[in-house]
């Protein structure tokens, strides 16, 4: 449930959107993704200032106590501007995992820092709460007394570059465990070359890296973390596809060929009308998933899987057709369309494929 009133929610969203409109232009995006950090620290700090980094964190832990719907609205705006910030891993997945499974001391230590923008947490490993599982990971955990140490390698870790902690999952025989590893000399990092230049993926090498184990990972709780993260991702994709769709519609009204705007050709109009159905359906699906989660609806799992494959597939279609409708000018790196298209492709395997979510959705439509 969200502790934020409808008016405050609207104000929060409007304020963030206005700020991004003024500050998050394409030039900043390109310079952010060209530097090592991968995102604009000033924008990240402003998000902290606005309370957005603590949106999913309880008020008594320094957050604002928002629900899935609030996370969705923030993610939509992030998506529109393709902000490459570590929001999903830090403020959605890690914040939720720590809130549910961290000890009182860890919660009081880390959650306020996340909300304040003082902490970035990467996510990786294996398990249902991990956006990108490494299927070849060679990670092992051992304990002596209360202390845990991790050894081995793990790839596909998101936002590990300047992360203060790495939240690593280890799923064995269907049982999830999760470790918080502090960035230190015991963890070395190789940045992976990614197709989407805005994506930050790393391979970590851990040698006797000290770790805090999050306790009592019940399957229900992990399932909640996973569903909330998927709903957040879907909202980001819904926002992103709407933005590239609108950029494309603007182009169709102003680009002239054969003495008329290309948007006056029916071949183009029909593509546009079909894409609008995709964009609106994705928005509806993402919204329905967030609302169902906040209402604790028995349909929540159904709507989350619906949102997952609908938004992934629609973002891919819309961003790909955007390039096609622009023609030659979008077959360049100077034009922004390819960045949306790459983001769409980068989203496809997060939390499982569209096909896997479609299968889940079908199961939820069967008679009980």
């Amino acid at each position: 449930m969200s502790q934020i009133s409808d008016e405050d929610r609207q104000a929060l969203r409007d304020g963030f959107a206005r700020y991004l409109e003024a500050e998050a232009d394409e030039k900043k995006l390109r310079s952010a993704i060209a530097n090592d950090r991968g995102y604009d620290e000033a924008i990240w700090q402003q998000m902290a200032e606005m309370g957005l980094l603590g949106i999913a964190i309880a008020e008594d832990s320094g957050g604002v106590g928002g629900g899935a719907i609030d996370v969705a609205l923030v993610m939509e705006e992030i998506g529109k501007k393709l902000l490459p910030v570590p929001f999903l891993s830090t403020c959605v997945v890690a914040a939720d995992m720590i809130s549910r499974f961290g000890s009182e001391a860890i919660q009081q230590d880390l959650l306020p820092k996340i909300a304040a923008g003082e902490l970035v947490i990467s996510t990786g490993g294996s398990g249902d709460f991990v956006p990108l599982s490494d299927h070849d990971l060679s990670l092992s955990a051992k304990s002596s007394a209360a202390d845990w140490t991790l050894n081995g390698q793990v790839s596909f870790v998101s936002h590990a570059g300047n992360a203060d902690y790495h939240l690593l999952g280890l799923q064995e025989d269907g049982v999830d465990s999760a470790y918080l590893v502090k960035a230190s000399d015991a963890v070395s990092k190789d940045r992976l070359i990614t197709n989407d230049p805005a994506q930050r993926l790393f391979k970590l090498h851990l040698s006797d890296a000290r770790a805090i184990k999050l306790e009592v990972l019940d399957a229900d709780g992990i399932g909640q973390v996973r569903m909330r993260a998927i709903a957040a991702l879907a909202a980001e994709q819904a926002g992103a596809m709407r933005a590239i769709f609108e950029i494309t519609m603007d182009y169709l009204r102003t680009r002239y060929q054969f003495g008329r705007p290309i948007g006056s050709f029916q071949a183009i109009k029909h593509m546009a009308a079909e894409l609008l159905v995709e964009v609106e359906s994705a928005t509806s699906a993402a919204l329905a998933a967030a609302k169902a989660l906040d209402a604790n609806s028995p349909d929540a799992a159904k709507f989350v899987s619906l949102a997952a494959f609908t938004c992934k597939d629609a973002f891919r279609t819309v961003s790909a057709q955007a390039i096609q409708m622009h023609g030659g000018i979008a077959y360049t790196q100077e034009h922004i369309a390819h960045l949306y298209w790459r983001r769409a492709r980068a989203g496809l395997p997060l939390f499982g494929s569209s096909d896997a979510h479609r299968e889940q959705y079908l199961k939820s439509r069967e008679a009980a």
Binding site: L252, R260, P261, L362
Partner: protein
């Protein structure tokens, strides 16, 4: 005599309507009290005189001057008892159009007749004017106080029963197409009007062809004014779309949400539900339907807060993909069984019917292609295509048959 006005509470309205229905309607026999059997004209006359036909219209135009919300209370009371006649201000397209754009004498003479009779039929489409409705060629030629009508209309529902039709005609052939059209309220029961049912692709016959040969209509029955028919027609078509839209949202509420979808049950019966390819297809088809429902719910919310929603225009297009898609999957599930038809092959008969019926949505009321143009131009503000027939006299426009 009923005494209700805008200040009446919901409670008061309900009481008055219930009392009136208690006194006049025999819910068991489904006819007027004491009548023995249902007589449409005499029942509707009673409803009309009580003002319940068109409660949202002003008293001087046969209504009660109530709000939409108040009118809905009356409609509900009628429908609870299966009594006809209420909410004609929402569903009687002919009466609504006359009320909105008809002349004063037309309203006075025709509204009482129309509101107490069968609904009007719509004489719009012609064999050569389908998507391009402004290309109608049915002739209306002045003759004294009348016009003489000759032409052919098509896709007309209720043409057999209707006493009146709303008729689009060509009255000036020497001006561009939109400027030479006249809209009539046309009496159907006369010589020179022949109604022929169409054998549709599904085997049904909801629609008719209407052949009009030298039939007459009085000049006082012009809806709007001479040669300005396209403008009045816009009012009629806007209400038609509104009614269709309301139908969509109202029907939605009545479906059982928890029952297992037909496609899943069919796949189980055919022993193919474990096939992963089939499962993906069924899941996507169910998703398309559910997404359209979510879009329409958002549309309803937007209409409640903003008065309108562009999402509304997407429903019809989305429904084409849903219906054709579901029919294709079901056909594949049946395999060669789909070759059969008839009562002994119920699954096949249903699937084959659905596959044909899907065209009702993707062609009827404007093809998907026209709908996409409308979405692109009105929702997305993409520029209009240059018209070949703009500023050309209608008689010089190229057409397929002439």
């Amino acid at each position: 005599m009923t005494i209700l006005d805008r200040n009446a509470s919901a409670e008061e309205i309900r009481n008055v309507v219930e009392a009136w229905l208690d006194a006049h309607w025999d819910a068991e026999k489904r006819c007027a009290k004491g009548a023995g059997r249902y007589d449409e004209k005499s029942w509707l006359t009673q409803v009309f005189e009580a003002g319940f036909c068109v409660p949202s219209w002003p008293i001087e135009y046969y209504g009660l001057g109530l709000s939409q919300k108040q009118s809905a209370i009356i409609e509900k009371a009628f429908s609870r008892r299966n009594a006809e006649g209420s909410a004609r201000d929402r569903f009687h397209l002919g009466a609504i159009t006359i009320f909105k754009v008809g002349s004063e004498p037309l309203k006075r003479t025709m509204l009482p007749i129309m509101l107490t009779g069968p609904i009007c039929c719509l004489l719009y489409s012609e064999p050569n004017a389908g998507s391009d409705l402004a290309g109608v060629r049915t002739k209306a030629v002045p003759d004294g106080d009348d016009f003489i009508i000759t032409g052919q209309k098509i896709w007309t529902s209720n043409a057999q029963e209707a006493e009146y039709g709303m008729l689009l005609t060509r009255t000036d052939w020497d001006v561009p197409k939109h400027r030479g059209i006249t809209f009539f309220l046309f009496p159907m029961k006369q010589d020179g009007v022949e109604v022929k049912p169409i054998n549709q692709i599904t085997g049904e016959s909801e629609f008719n062809e209407v052949f009009i040969t030298g039939a007459r209509v009085s000049a006082t029955n012009i809806i709007g004014s001479l040669n300005q028919g396209w403008t009045s027609f816009q009012t009629a078509i806007a209400y038609e779309r509104l009614i269709m839209g309301q139908g969509v949202t109202e029907r939605r509420g009545k479906s059982k949400p928890d029952s297992e979808p037909q496609l899943i049950r069919l796949a189980r019966r055919q022993g193919k539900y474990d096939d992963p390819v089939i499962r993906q297809k069924i899941a996507q088809a169910l998703a398309h339907r559910e997404l359209n429902g979510l879009n329409m719910e958002r549309a309803k919310q937007e209409i409640m807060t903003n008065g309108s929603s562009s999402l509304m225009s997407l429903g019809k297009l989305a429904m084409s993909r849903i219906q054709h898609g579901e029919a294709a999957i079901a056909t594949d599930l049946l395999g060669q069984e789909a070759l059969l038809d008839g009562d002994d092959s119920a699954d096949a008969a249903n699937v084959n019917f659905d596959a044909a019926k899907a065209y009702m949505n993707s062609i009827g009321g404007g093809t998907d292609q026209i709908q996409k143009n409308i979405i692109a131009e009105r929702v997305l503000n993409l520029p209009k295509e240059p018209d070949m027939d703009r500023n050309v006299a209608f008689r010089d426009i190229k057409s397929s048959s002439l």
